[in-house]
Amino acid sequence: MTRPRMTPGRMLAYATLILIGIGGIAPFLYLAILSTKRRIEIVAQVPPSLSFDWQVAARNYREVLWEQGMAEFTLNSLIVVSIATLLAVLIGLPAAYAFSRIRFRGSDGLASFILSMRFMPPIAVAIPLFLMMRWVGLTDTYAGLILPYVAFSLPLVVWIMIGFFDEIPHEIDEAAEIDGASHWQILTRVQLPIVWPGVMTAALFGALFIWNEFLVSLYIVNSRSLQTISLGAATLVSAQRPIDWNIAAAVGVVTVIPILIFSLFVQRYIVRGLTSGAVK
């Protein structure tokens, strides 16, 4: 392929490309810049200057992480998200396999029923889940959050994993079947190594949903020390009341940074997860 010459049209295209990139990332950079400012500087410097006083930044983040408790909230979220995601994958994986590989009556109906749970507004179940957890005495515990969250990410996991299992050619498990392998052996020994990227994708999206969710935790969690990161962020930056913008910006950065770090490691799975089910 020869390099096309720089025509005015191509220059315009590249300018557009750069503008799109700026539009995507500038809002987040702006938030990051605000998080390093003094409260009065935000109002006084428009646009904010790019000379940074790192001591002010450190003070803002210290306040957010320790005094406002975001460090603790992050830890809570990491615990809840990892356990709930692990459970959702453990429960969802065999189910997705069954939908993809075992023929049975009502398979399609049951599968689309489970997938339709993906569309359920959390608001429709938040109150009953709260009443349930209160009844069994699990409000204000990790378990009280984990149990409902598994149910939220299960449909996502099943949905994404069916797509990955469907892609594996049937010849592979037929060969294993001839050798006398059971479905359990086919799943764990033959298919799991192949669909490992799919498991990562499913886990990523299950985890992301739980990380961002805060409606259910709003009901279940009363004590400050058990707040999750999105709930903590919500109480610190709610549009209900005036806020200190430097602190709010730091809260935003603290909430988003773990997602960005995580997404760097699993970048290649993200697009696949977002578009799963779309391209047949």
Binding site: A95, S116, F119, M132, S182, A233, A234
Partner: protein, 303 residues
Amino acid sequence: MTEALAAPRSHFGRPENTRRTLVLFLGPCVLYLLIFAIYPLVHSLRLSFTDLTAAAGTGRFVGLENYRFLFSDPQFWNAAMNSAIMVGLGVTIQVVAGVALAMFFNLNLRGAWIVRGILILPMLMTPIVVGVMWRALLNPDWGLVDWAITSIGLSPPDWLGSVRMAIVTLVLVDSWQWTPFVFMIVFARLQALPQDVFEAAEVDGAGPWTTFRRITLPMLMPAIVFAAVFRAVDAFRAFDLIYGLSYGGPARGTTTLAFFAFQNGFQFQNYGYAAAVAYAMLIVLAVGTTVLFRFLSLRRGLT
């Protein structure tokens, strides 16, 4: 083990009991969803027939009272209107912009993959933070957007202060976050299209616009409909973005059905009424997605 012997054999005569395997593989998932999704949904329906609040002594059965009140409640219709705007206007903007982006990235410019990577980020962000971030950007006194608009000599709208504008601002912020979703799905389909059709069109002398209208767009349609359905549902049930951006205000201007249900359930602790609002949403969702997915599978059968 007589049952195992009598079980239907798979096509290779594997002596495995398929029914037992099914129960072991599907059972946990189905049981889990029954307890933590279906039961709460049923419970919610039951709540919608009661006057339960956080106060003691409530929870009496009141029949269809909540639903009757709902239909005469101007705040409910206000919220329904806002939801319709958020879904209708939002999905329209996101589909048009998403398809345009897909066509643009199909030029395969050098370095475009970096920008594609950037466009993933908004979708991963916590919606509350997206709301707060844009509240800062759109601040009338010191926000970056208003500064930019003013410095090129225009006057910015009152983004979040005017009742009429706030819902449009909400749609725009939602579109900033989720247009990339439509783009990714349409782009994946676009890159997978067979190239010979386009070559044939070029040989036949079709201009770029005709090619797009007559060939590209129809072939992209399944992906567009899929993305639009997902966006419609997610915009309909979104409430955390609103929580961070505008908290339903000003003057209920951004109170959608999801936010209205949340306010009744959490802030006012009218559990019964909130459940009725949630069920109104579920009915709209069920009817909407059933119709759309029937349309979808129909289309898939045709292509």
